[in-house]
Every structure is written in C-alpha cells, then in structure tokens.
Symmetry: C2
Subunit: 192 residues, 2 copies
DNA sequence: GTCTATACGAAGATAGAC
DNA sequence: GTCTATCTTCGTATAGAC
C-alpha cells in the first residue's frame, strides 16, 4: 500500500512527540503507538530519527497553517478565537496530556538534533504569517497584525504548557479572552 | 563545605534543563557543567535524578516568584514590563539557547517522570499568584488580575520557545508590547 | 518491505573500597 | 564524600536473510 506505513509512522511520531517530548520519541514508542513494523524503519527513513521527526513537524505545521488560512473572519477577535478553539479541542482530545509537537522539538533540541531547529523556526513562522494575514484581512494594520500574530502563537504555546502542567483548561480561557481583547483594541486603533 | 557540591549541582541542573530539556539533563551533563564529582551523586541525591530535577525546579521557581514579588508598580503595565524584562535578560545571557526550565520539565515529563508534574504545576501557580497580586495592587480588579497573570505567564513561556526556535528577540518585543496594552486596558476597566 | 541479529554507546542506579 | 566497578535497560543504527 505504497507509503502507508511511513505515513502512519509520521503521524504517530507527531502524537508521541506531543506527549513524550523529543527524546522520548523513540522508534520503539512510535512502533508501539502505530503498530508499524520494526524491520523497515530505516527503509522508510534512511535519515534515521531526524528524518522522521522532520516529517512529523512538516506535516503538523502544514495542517495547522492550512487551518489558519481557512479562517473566515470579519472581526479580528474571530481570528484568535478560532485559532485557540482548534487547540482547545486538541487539548481535550489528548486529555491534557499533550503539548504542541513543535514546541516539544524546540525544547528538546539541545546540542544534538540542532538540525531540526530550522524546521521548527519556519513552521512557527508560517503560522505567524498566516495569522498576520488573517488579522490584516479584518482591518488591522500590517504592523499590528504581525505583532499580534506573534503574541497569539506565543500565548497559545504557553497555554498548552500551563494546561498540561496544571491539568486544567483554565489557561485556554484566560488566553482566549485576553487575545480577543487585544485583537478588538487593535482594530479600534487603540494599540500602540 | 557542607552542601556546596549539592547546591552547585542543583543550580547546574537548572541550567542544563533550560538548554537540553528534561531527558537531556543527564548526570553526566550536570557534572560536566559544574565540575561536580561523579562519585557522590547518590550521596547527595538518594532519590536519584528526580530529586535533583525537583530541587532545581524548586530553586528556580522560588527565585522567580521572589523577583515578581519585588516588583513595585503603580501602573499595571509596569508589572508585565518588569517581568518580561527579567526573562529578556535571561534570553540574552544564554544567547537564545535556553527556554524556561519549568517548561522543559513539563514538556519532557512523559509517562516517566510524571512525579514531577505536581512540582511544575505549583511552581507555575506561584508565579501566577504573585503576578495577580502585583496587578491587583495597581488597581486592577481581582478577576482581571488573575486572568491577566495566567496570560502573562503563558505568553512569556511561549515567547521563550519562539525566541529559541527563531533565534530572535522579536517575540519578546511583541509579547511585552501586547501584554502592556492588555494591562493598561484592564485598568481602564475596558477588559470584559 | 519486513525480519532477526548484532554492534555500540549512554543512561540510571547500586555496591563496596578508600 | 568521593572513587571505581558493575549491572541493566534502552536508544540509534547497520548488516544480511527472507
């Protein structure tokens, strides 16, 4: 079935990444999570673990960017609301046991695996760009949109971490509320 | 010299944690970073790695909470400004190679080391409480202060991650600016 | 594509000498 | 307090059979 196994492993890796961190994402874990065969790991990923992780980041990054681009908002707070809402569902679905896989790679990329940093950097950048465009389409100035997009991603990533640590959805409530207030203020031309 | 070695290892562990993540913080790394002797690890930490990590979180958590409590602000945006400024210095000092050690533990705590989650949860909570009190002292309502404190911590943690990924201080600029705007709005009684 | 076998290193942890 | 030696487990990675 073509690259079915490879795809399954990539998706599985993204999931394990979010729950166990970069170094916790061993081939054994991915295989256990996906039921993929042990014997063909290096057939599917000649580049080893880094290749698998890189693909997982790429996949997740693209799907989130896509979701942002699909937001049809007329008011700026709808942008932040829908963005956060998507991650809220993710948090619920994983029972507050997972953070963002891209964050996990960023945090886990020490001296080793530093080759993955460019991939996470451009993934975050793609989210920031997509969010900035979405804000701009609702009438926020370009400069404000860009800044707001960065704050939106940062607050979301932090909320995921706080939510996991405290096993609570409250960080999402706080961040969603405050981002919406910021977005509204930006449109009123009040943010400096 | 009493517990000099132990203390050095705890401080060193916090540093390694921030740069290499939880699983990257091996005894070997801590020993290399601090010059501590190999032979007495389990003399100083009978509880093994978890004990060392726990102490590092406790130490860092206390020092940051202390710093927050020392903020003397008359206007709410001074609270977020000074808080972010402290972390900005940290980012500069580590050459954008480190994130928050508490985040690192949260992200790295998978199935194993879940015993550390309560420690990180209460550490984050202590920062939230201290920030909420600081906001409240400047005239922000209790509910707004609490919510703002959560958003402040979340945005900061996210900014550290973005900054590391993209090797840029720009996330700090964005977050600092937007948090200040939110804080000002809260005092004006404009935040819903 | 998938298997087994295997090499190699690093990690956490313990025991006992000094 | 600090050392060395050792055990066990687990990780990445390779080789070669099926």
């Amino acid at each position: 079935m073509a690259d079915d196994t490879r795809d399954r492993m990539i998706i599985g890796a993204a999931g394990v990444l979010a729950q166990r961190g970069l170094q916790g994402t061993s081939f054994s874990e991915v295989i256990e999570a996906t039921g993929a065969p042990r014997g063909s790991i290096y057939h599917h990923f000649p580049g080893g673990k880094d290749e698998m992780i890189g693909e997982a980041i790429f996949l997740l990054g693209g799907s989130v960017a896509e979701r942002i681009r699909a937001i049809e908002a007329t008011r700026p707070e709808q942008v932040s609301d829908e963005f956060i809402e998507g991650w809220r569902e993710f948090a619920r679905a994983t029972d507050l046991k997972a953070v963002c896989a891209v964050s996990a790679v960023t945090v886990g990329a020490g001296a080793a695996a530093q080759g993955l940093l460019p991939a996470v950097a451009s993934t975050f950048a793609s989210w920031q760009d997509a969010l900035a465009e979405a804000y701009a389409r609702t009438g926020v100035t370009k400069a404000d949109s860009k800044r707001l997009a960065t704050t939106t991603v940062a607050a979301l990533e932090g909320a995921l971490i706080l939510a996991r640590a405290q096993q609570s959805m409250e960080p999402f409530d706080a961040v969603q509320h405050d981002l919406a207030a910021m977005a509204r203020a930006a449109r009123r031309g009040r943010s400096t």
